[in-house]
């Protein structure tokens, strides 16, 4: 063990049979496919997935803007809809960071909040550390890049797990792009309040991704991808990002034997 950094050390439930899915507001209205794909993927692993219809948004937009009371009201509503003591799998690292870490502050007076926060797992960390999934790659050979959101990297410490999953895909070459760990410039309201700074950041990010000469990039965060894809589209670049849940689902042919030896 070479890390003394205990921030991200945690216990993972082993072989859970039932989980909640937290879809996030972005996936809900803009990118629902990734939510469906995540459920599909989990179900194929033999897991029952519950999607509480009462969920809306983790509260991060208001929280990051300094509107704590408004964020709190929304956050409180979320936790009500996840009563069972089972893992809550969330398909976005930054919403994960909000619910796993910031809820502890925001809702510090709420009884049992620590326990709730400890049930939050980002999708890729859950796949790797709880399910120990073994992927069978059935897709064609291709080069892809990975974009890990800053929250996933720094708040959740899950930049490793996304990489581990992609690396399991035999036909996929994972390409490192320049300044890979640097922020794409999204930052929620930052991208609107300080659009000019954000624009420069996303231009650099897209340039580095395009220069990596990959067919797509994969990410587990719709915030970043909305930003990066929006910029790529604006620049008339063909490169696009794909949510890791959709990508894994598409490539992993559980029923195929694949050509794995």
């Amino acid at each position: 063990m070479s890390q003394v950094n205990t921030l991200h050390l945690r216990d993972y439930p082993k072989n859970p049979t039932k989980v909640y899915l937290y879809g996030t507001c972005l996936a809900d209205s803009l990118f629902p496919d990734s939510g469906i794909d995540a459920i599909e993927f989990l179900e194929r692993q033999g897991i029952e997935v519950i999607f509480p219809q009462g969920q809306s948004c983790c509260g991060q937009p208001a929280y990051n803007s300094g509107y704590t009371d408004e964020a709190k009201a929304v956050a409180l509503e979320q936790i009500r809809h996840f009563p069972l003591d089972i893992p809550i799998v969330i398909i976005s690292g930054s919403c994960g960071g909000m619910m796993r870490h910031h809820y502890k502050d925001l809702l510090k007076d709420e009884p049992g909040i620590e326990k709730f926060c400890d049930r939050i797992f980002e999708f890729t960390e859950f796949l790797v550390n709880s399910l120990n999934v073994q992927l069978n790659d059935s897709g064609p050979a291709e080069r892809v890049a990975l974009h890990t959101s800053c929250a996933a990297r720094r708040e959740m410490g899950v930049h490793i797990t996304g990489k581990k999953l992609i690396e399991q895909l035999d036909n996929v070459e994972l390409v490192t792009h320049d300044y890979e760990s640097e922020c794409c410039g999204f930052g929620g309201t930052f991208s609107v309040k300080h659009g000019d700074i954000s624009n420069v950041m996303v231009s650099d990010k897209t340039k580095n991704l395009v220069n990596a000469d990959v067919v797509r990039y994969v990410s587990a965060d719709w915030g970043c991808m909305m930003n990066i894809n929006g910029s790529l589209e604006h620049q008339k670049e063909s490169l696009r990002g794909e949510h890791i849940a959709s990508y894994l689902l598409a490539r992993n042919a559980m029923d195929n034997t694949g050509d794995k030896s």
Partner: protein, 489 residues
């Protein structure tokens, strides 16, 4: 406590430049040369630090240790300051206290005038930048020359430091050569860095030799021994504190540490985080003025302890962590925003992430309202901070203070000044929708059905991006349908 009572004459000149943040940003983002200077410099420093702190075990142990050292010293701060004063006084060093920058400048000018001082050489001191000491001394006919190479360049260019460790990082060697050509008599044109430094050296050695007063900052003030510690590479700090007969040090009240043994771990992380050096070329520890039988060194040494908003940071447990800072600059080196906009755009003495969390206390939240929001909260700063200041969290906190409604308990100067009725209204509507599941689902149902109405242009967002497109059906709906289909089977 009334934190809003400030004499307008006391307002720092940086308040105005901080208010101009948005304009500064547009100006500097348009400057490609500047951006490439910063990118090059930041890449260099990031790489240096990484090499010097390659053992993550050591790094994390030291960060935790240094954080705890600073937190202990802060809990004991008032007592350590008293102990420091007592010890320094016993050692023969005179201690002064200043609540505001004006007071600090006044104290320093008076000491200098009492000795008929006319020329001052200054070692690198960000606190004296904070007080704009040079301007003040000049207004009293005292010449004040910066002697750190970077500061010297910046002074010649009539600018301010753009980085707390490398003040002239925004200039490249060609620009420095042009500047020297304009300002140094007999300058032999060159863009060779060694030759440039040599010519700077010649000018400055002359000044050291003849200056009446040396002014310096302090990196650590040790209460236990009454010692002022200075970290530097050039030797100008030693010059300023050794050659003139009068040495005046100025520092923030948070720089005091309890024990001498607190220094080695802090020093080790400071230099490695800053420039990747195992230690700086010089670590200078001053405990007395010249003693009777000694042949050199200043006959008088003074220390000015400055508050300037620090006691306000101290008054809140969360914000107090700001005072842990040892001014290494790593947070700015790793900041994607700083790398893009450079140090001057902030308009404040301290730029970058640390600047965003200290300046609101020094200048008030009204003048600095754009600083805490100008962050994507990516967390790169907090990850590298050697004393583990949770910078992103403090930025969030400052955002909260900035938009606090009137009548909330007073935490800091200018709180609530960033609250706009329109924005507050949006968030209250947002909250109302998202805290009522049915309302939320209905809204989203309508939004997705009416998606053809969604504008193609969304303000700042679509300047460089295409607008996101709403899905035909929400995830909520699709899952419901999926569940119903499964049941039907």
């Amino acid at each position: 406590m009334s934190v809003d009572q400030v004499n307008p004459n006391d307002e720092s000149k940086y308040a105005a430049s901080a208010r101009a943040f948005r304009d500064n940003v547009s100006r500097d983002l348009a400057n490609d040369e500047l951006r490439s200077n910063f990118r090059g410099a930041m890449d260099y420093l990031v790489d240096k630090r990484k090499t010097a702190l390659s053992d993550s075990d050591e790094l994390e142990t030291l960060r935790e240790q240094c954080k705890l050292i600073k937190q202990r010293c802060l809990v004991k701060l008032p007592h350590l300051l008293e102990a420091l004063e007592e010890k320094l006084t016993a050692n023969g060093i005179k201690v002064h206290w200043a609540e505001t920058i004006t007071e600090a400048n006044e104290i320093i000018a008076e000491i200098i005038e009492s000795k008929n001082g006319k020329t001052v050489v200054k070692g690198k001191s960000m606190v004296s930048e904070e007080t704009a000491l040079n301007d003040h001394l000049e207004s009293r006919d005292i010449e004040c020359l910066e002697s750190d190479m970077g500061e010297y360049i910046v002074q010649l260019a009539k600018e301010h430091p753009s980085h707390i460790i490398m003040p002239a990082i925004h200039q490249n060697k060609k620009q420095v050569a042009d500047l020297f050509a304009k300002n140094i008599e007999g300058f032999e044109h060159t863009t060779d860095v060694d030759a440039l430094i040599q010519q700077g050296r010649n000018v400055l050695r002359d000044k050291f030799c003849n200056a009446d007063v040396g002014v310096s900052g302090v990196n650590f003030a040790v209460a236990e021994t009454g010692t002022l510690c200075l970290v530097e590479n050039e030797g100008n700090g030693r010059m300023c504190t050794t050659v003139p007969d009068l040495h005046i040090a100025i520092t923030g009240i948070e720089k005091v540490v309890e024990h001498l043994s607190d220094v080695p771990p802090l020093l080790s992380l400071l230099t490695r985080s800053a420039t990747g050096q195992a230690i700086s070329t010089y670590f200078n520890m001053i405990s007395h003025p010249r003693q009777q039988d000694e042949k050199d060194g200043p006959g008088e040494v003074h220390l000015v302890l400055l508050d300037n908003g620090r006691s306000q940071m101290y008054s809140d447990d969360e914000l107090r962590q700001t005072l842990q800072c040892i001014r290494c600059g790593a947070c700015m080196n790793h900041c994607p925003v700083y790398t893009r906009i450079g140090g001057h755009a902030y308009g404040t003495v301290y730029p970058g992430p640390i600047g965003k969390i200290v300046s609101p206390h020094m200048l008030g939240l009204e003048a600095t309202t754009n600083l805490p929001t100008a962050s994507s909260l990516c967390g790169a700063c907090g990850e590298v901070c050697p004393v583990k200041i949770p910078i992103p969290k403090l930025l969030l906190r400052l955002r909260q203070e900035s938009v606090k409604p009137k009548g909330a308990p007073q935490v800091m100067k200018g709180q609530g000044s960033g609250r706009k009725t329109s924005e507050a209204f949006i968030w209250s509507v947002w909250s109302m929708i998202h805290k009522q599941p049915l309302f939320y689902r209905t809204s989203m149902w309508f939004a997705t059905r009416l998606r053809f109405l969604m504008p193609k242009k969304l303000g700042a967002w679509t300047v460089a991006r295409s607008a996101p497109k709403l899905a035909p059906k929400t995830l909520h709906e699709r899952i419901k349908e999926r569940e119903q289909a499964a049941k039907g089977k």
